[in-house]
Symmetry: C2
Subunit: 139 residues, 2 copies
DNA sequence: ATATTTGCAAAGCCTTTGCAGGGGA
DNA sequence: TCCCCTGCAAAGGCTTTGCAAATAT
């Protein structure tokens, strides 16, 4: 079951893009409707497949350009996980962790509240971010 | 500073490979001298570069074949981290975490004792492995 | 009018594969 | 002998880039 998503209108998306300094072109708005409302950790390829059905003639280059623009603008986060060569994109930009189902390759967001993490690294290590990946099997 | 390494002799390496069920060919022994004694999270490419200097005429295919054999035999662990498309190989096969220096790309092993991690995931998530990556800057 | 964005194709990087020749058990 | 290993070159998957045409401000 994918995470619950808010349904943004094209106008809301346009506003959000503008405010983030991203030119709200038709292609970018279309992709955002998928990325922000529907998708759950999609790969560039899955995004392209969706676009082919819903907004014909977006090129792969535009998909990647758009993803880069959205990541740079802080609207998306890009993740790369060890089980796949493809990056996935997450509209959940707040701190959280992930669970990977080894069998299906499915990813699930894990709220930071579920994890108690305290660390005592040597002083020389200045940590700015911690990524945690739980691997296993989901029932 | 790379982690301290044991210096194995060719004979010791040969024994270890045999015991792990890996045919100890000249190329594999050579690569192991680097992987087990010298290298610190090398990529396939770095391994190849070392080989070009120290054991001319090992092909990239053999490097990858050897790495796969060693990983399958449990002698190495393969890791993929988000900052790079290249896999890295770690002769530390026990449970441990990593610190990534964002500036240099250098990786450091973090002992599990330095990390206190307790998790309360929903029952449906059966966790078999946890990967933790600390990102930041090393002084 | 000027700067961005788009789409196509080509190139790039990392890794795997097919296959013929070679070496170890 | 037989099977595994090696090396080369080619192919594969994902992403980036160059460039001309189209679009936005």
């Amino acid at each position: 079951m994918p995470a619950k998503k808010t349904l943004f209108s094209a106008l809301e998306i346009e506003k959000r893009l503008s405010e983030a300094g991203v030119q709200p072109t038709a292609q970018r708005i279309a992709l955002c409707r998928y990325l922000l409302c529907e998708a759950d950790h999609p790969t560039a390829d899955e995004i392209k497949k969706w676009a082919d059905l819903n907004f014909p003639k977006i090129s792969m280059a535009t998909v990647y350009n758009t993803l880069k623009a959205l990541v740079d603008a802080g609207i998306l986060k890009e993740f790369k996980f060890p089980h796949s060569d493809s990056a996935v994109y997450d509209c959940n930009t707040s701190v959280h962790y992930h669970f990977l189902d080894e069998k299906t390759g499915e990813l699930f967001d894990i709220a930071p509240e579920a994890v108690n993490l305290s660390v005592k690294l040597q002083d020389k290590f200045k940590v700015t971010e911690i990524q945690v990946l739980f691997r296993g099997r989901k029932k």
